[in-house]
Symmetry: C2
DNA sequence: AAGTGGTCTAGACCACGTA
DNA sequence: ACGTGGTCTAGACCACTTG
């Protein structure tokens, strides 16, 4: 019977300290350490946390402040709360919502990958179709880039980008620092993107580029990236070797 | 110049009324009408809303209550707020986060689709591998179901499910009401799922089932569905005709 | 009955963007 | 200087779950 009262059911003594002199908001001083402990594995799924009243007293902050911190963590999928029950760390699969897919990684953090070749870099004028897709005017200057991404010594993906010329890095910047970093240096920061994933079989050209047989399966991704003010700053059409690349994400009911 | 002060920049006179007698929380009585107006197109992207102080006065509720309502809508991606600026309806592409993908639809609302054939329905005992994947014990009873989903008179997907026997609908229920409804009738409600999407080419059997040529591209989805308490209640392995099915979703930075 | 989270109030002060 | 949202407080009452 000594195992019946599992340590999971004992409120975890959260090692959180509040510094009222630091500029950071109190609710963040509460939520961030907890978030780190969960993501770092120090706080395991199912672990019960202190109730909000007790924690507020202990930290000498108001209850709404602790509530705000806990609620943010619930919205991030790290905690789950039930009235009359308490607050617990959610089950691990939910956490992946944070980590997201590797497709998401390459939205913001490329240039880190070991090798990305630039296959072509063209400056053109937008025709009617491109203008429509990019939400720009006809004959606006655009840049079309084709790249080949490598991983573990093998080609992993072909990536084709179409973007307004004023957002695009120069060819030199592109090869040296990556696409999104080059855009950031122009003050262009994608804040959201809508993405469609599908499948096709490799054409002869695609197979050549990716070192595959013609007819091999490819995972396709079409992504439209937006800045905060709604401007379209990148149209990406990518093709991945399906044998080596998949997309994982979490779905929540409701 | 008369167009410079666009109607978007005039605070929208929100038609919200508060009923303190109704049991529904005040913050919902504020946020839900706004949500409906945005999703319904009545409130267009870019529209400025009343500031929270004014709205709180007008509705005779406290400022934190209005804040709570607005913050929920920000978390849903419907509003965006900037200090010193105000609160505006976000740009339309963000709203799709709500609608999610059609893969998500068939997580919870199948049985609505025009036709789903049951190809096989087997009761087995879990071997070591299945037990591992399902998080159950070896030799627990499990049910393995194969189905074929149709759309517009053509087969769209093969769907294979493995689930604990006590979660599974009977064959009769399955054919009459659909899988997830049958599970719901057993009190089994999937609350979240983790899903991996990839691509492959059709084998001879898959091609036959889907009325395709061998070697046609297929979009694959493997989904593990969980109840709120973390129990695994469905392992799905699905294959879609890539020519007719894609997955769309939204990515947000940070 | 006791303990939990859920809701709500009426203030206060601050940081930021604009004019 | 002004108006906006961001943060914080110290209470209060309610609804749900468990012993």
């Amino acid at each position: 019977m000594s195992q019946d009262t599992s340590s999971l059911d004992q409120p975890f003594p959260l090692a959180v300290t509040i510094d009222r002199a630091s500029g950071t908001p109190l609710h963040l001083q509460v939520s961030e350490p907890i978030s780190r402990m969960i993501l770092g594995g120090e706080l395991v799924p199912g672990q019960l946390l202190e109730d909000e009243v007790t924690l507020a007293e202990r930290l000498q902050v108001s209850r709404p402040t602790v509530r705000r911190a806990f609620q943010d963590l619930v919205n991030d999928g790290l905690l789950s709360r039930r009235r009359g029950i308490g607050t617990r760390v959610t089950l691990p699969h939910i956490h992946r919502k944070i980590a997201l897919s590797s497709l998401y990684d390459d939205l913001l953090s490329d240039g880190i990958t070991p090798r990305t070749d630039v296959l072509s870099y063209e400056v053109r004028l937008a025709d009617a179709d491109i203008a429509e897709e990019l939400g720009c005017a006809r004959n606006d200057e655009i840049v079309v880039i084709e790249r080949l991404r490598w991983s573990d010594g093998h080609p992993l993906a072909t990536m084709k980008h179409t973007l307004p010329a004023d957002c695009a890095p120069t060819l030199t910047e592109l090869t040296q620092t990556g696409l999104y970093r080059g855009m950031a240096e122009r003050g262009v920061k994608p804040m959201s993107a809508i993405q469609t994933v599908g499948a096709k079989v490799a054409s002869e050209r695609e197979a050549d580029l990716l070192h595959l047989e013609t007819g091999s399966p490819l995972l396709t991704a079409e992504r439209t990236a937006f800045t905060e003010d709604g401007r379209i700053v990148d149209l990406g059409k990518h093709m991945y070797d399906a044998a080596r690349y998949q997309v994982t994400f979490t779905l929540l009911a409701e």
